[in-house]
């Protein structure tokens, strides 16, 4: 469960204050599927980064699973990210010299999970995302859709409560994009919390809950 209260985020650019987020208050329940839309520069990515503990708010509090994570140190934040949050990026961010299987394994390697357990989970994830045939391929030998599926499998490898995706289809053609969204929707159906930032109204509309941001503030929040 995610609870944001009065979140403010300002950037100082050339002596001027840019308000990226203004008094954002938001609660996301466990297992919810949420899409965030809005014009460019409205603060969607900034919000997602704060939820993902990659960025810190200037004011306000953030509770993740009933724990106040606002004041944690960098390394504590890294540990929380490792255990509770899975990221999916627009540009995949796969490590080019590692195979699909090794990329999927990476978060578990960083967490020091037992190799036998890692191998088990990697195999399961490869099968789940239709990548078994591609397990030994490096990213430059994979299509965009396959890369994004590897990235999603990687995000899922630590079995996080929350998946955060910032324009996951932004770099894919329409068909592959829909395929990737299908994968994310399945995650949600299996009980995961999925937050997706997107520019595509069609994709946004498919979510159960739809957030619209304008100028750093939540303009609308629709369900159903």
């Amino acid at each position: 469960m995610i609870r944001l209260t009065g979140i403010e985020r300002t950037f100082t650019v050339g002596g001027e204050q840019v308000h990226a987020l203004r008094a954002v208050t938001l609660e996301i329940a466990q297992g919810e599927s949420l899409s965030i839309m809005g014009p460019s520069g409205s603060g969607k990515s900034t919000l997602l980064n704060i939820i993902g503990l990659l960025d810190r708010p200037n004011a306000g509090t953030y509770e993740l699973d009933r724990r106040d994570v606002t004041g944690l140190t960098d390394d504590e934040l890294a540990r929380v990210r490792r255990e509770k949050i899975g990221f999916v990026f627009q540009f995949f961010h796969l490590v080019p010299r590692l195979t699909a299987a090794q990329n999927i394994e990476l978060p578990m390697v960083l967490s020091g999970i037992d190799p036998a357990e890692r191998a088990r989970r990697v195999e399961q994830l490869l099968a789940e995302y239709g990548l078994t045939e591609r397990s030994g391929h490096r990213p430059d030998q994979l299509s965009g859709g396959q890369c994004q599926r590897v990235a999603i499998a990687r995000a899922m490898s630590m079995r996080p409560g929350v998946i955060l995706a910032d324009e996951p289809t932004g770099n894919l053609d329409r068909h592959t994009g829909q395929e990737v969204m299908g994968v994310l929707e399945r995650l949600h159906q299996n009980g995961g919390t999925v937050v997706v930032v997107t520019h595509d109204p069609e994709i946004g509309a498919r979510s159960h809950r739809r957030l619209r941001m304008i100028d750093g503030a939540v303009a609308s929040d629709e369900k159903g």
Binding site: L54, D74, R79, R81, F89, R97, L106, L110, G112
Partner: protein, 399 residues
Amino acid sequence: MRPADLVRFTYASVTAHRLRTGLTALGIAVGIAAVILLTSIGEGLHRFVIAEFTQFGTNLISVTPGRTQTHGASLGAVNTVRPLSIDDALALRRAPYVQVSDPIVQGNAEVVQGGKSRRVTLYGVGPDFARSLQMRVATGEFLPQDDPRAARAFVVLGSKVARELFGGGNPLGSRIRVGGDRYRVVGVMQSKGQVLGFDLDDTVYIPVGRALELFNRESLQEIHVNYEPTAPLAEVEEGIKRILIARHGTEDFTVTPQQKMLEVFGTVLDAITFAVAAIGGISLVVGGIGILTILTIAVAERTSEIGLLRALGATHRAILLLFLGEAALLAAIGGAAGLLAGWSIALVLQVALPALPVHVPWSYAALAELMAVGVGLAAGVLPARRAARLDPLEALRSE
């Protein structure tokens, strides 16, 4: 992160750029090879010199005329130097712990036998000379225990002189001319070879009193004293000085124990080895700078990967270790290659130039590899810290 995974990850990073890795490691390899080679030669030289000097034993003291003073040698003192005499040498036998006291004078002389003549090094010595220097007689005897002041005209030949003058024949009992006087050959020495470029076999030995007459000298060049190996050196020195001062009135002679000489040699040679290793160390520093450079580039190139690792939950420490590990691995590869190269060159040198003493101590090899890894770690600190300090979000965004 598990240590094994850390190694695997750094190994994958390092092998992803083979050429770059090879060239960077080469820098370290050259440094390590230089260190290994130079210290090997230094150490070989050290052993060679010590071996040359100790082949006659180490419980030796050399007494020479004149006072070697380190501070303020006065010119007037030179005039009052009394010669070291055969009697001085005999007197020293009474010094505590002294086993043998050999008067020695050395020069060049012509030896003639049958129509053949040869210029050789001539030693005027006492009867105990050979024994005290652990030199062996091949045939016959060394000079007999005559009164050194009135010894019989006997000569002992070095092996080369015997060969040159007598060919395969037996020289024992023959009469040869040494510096114009007739001497009877009583022995031939075993071959001893060269010592510090000096041919010990192209030598003849005659009684010291006769040699002094031959060279028309008053003073011995040296008195060679052998003492009991277990004796306290300071007391032996003290005893020698006391006797000679009593005879000469002043300390107009110099007592040099071989052990002290060896100590001096040892420190000088150690210093040479160290200096030479330091020269090799400079190329190691250059190799270290190569690692620093390549790692700085790697951190810049892989900024977004670092951002990703941080997003996936890698701590500062983990990033730091990853890049330090890469630096250490690069250096270790280079170090191992350099070790192999340096060692091979040392072996080739040993075979090709047997005169050049080369010795590779294993402890140095291990030390050099440790040093390589140390240099790698030192070179890795700055780039690794830069990587660890990157802001995850900014790093992720850099593309």
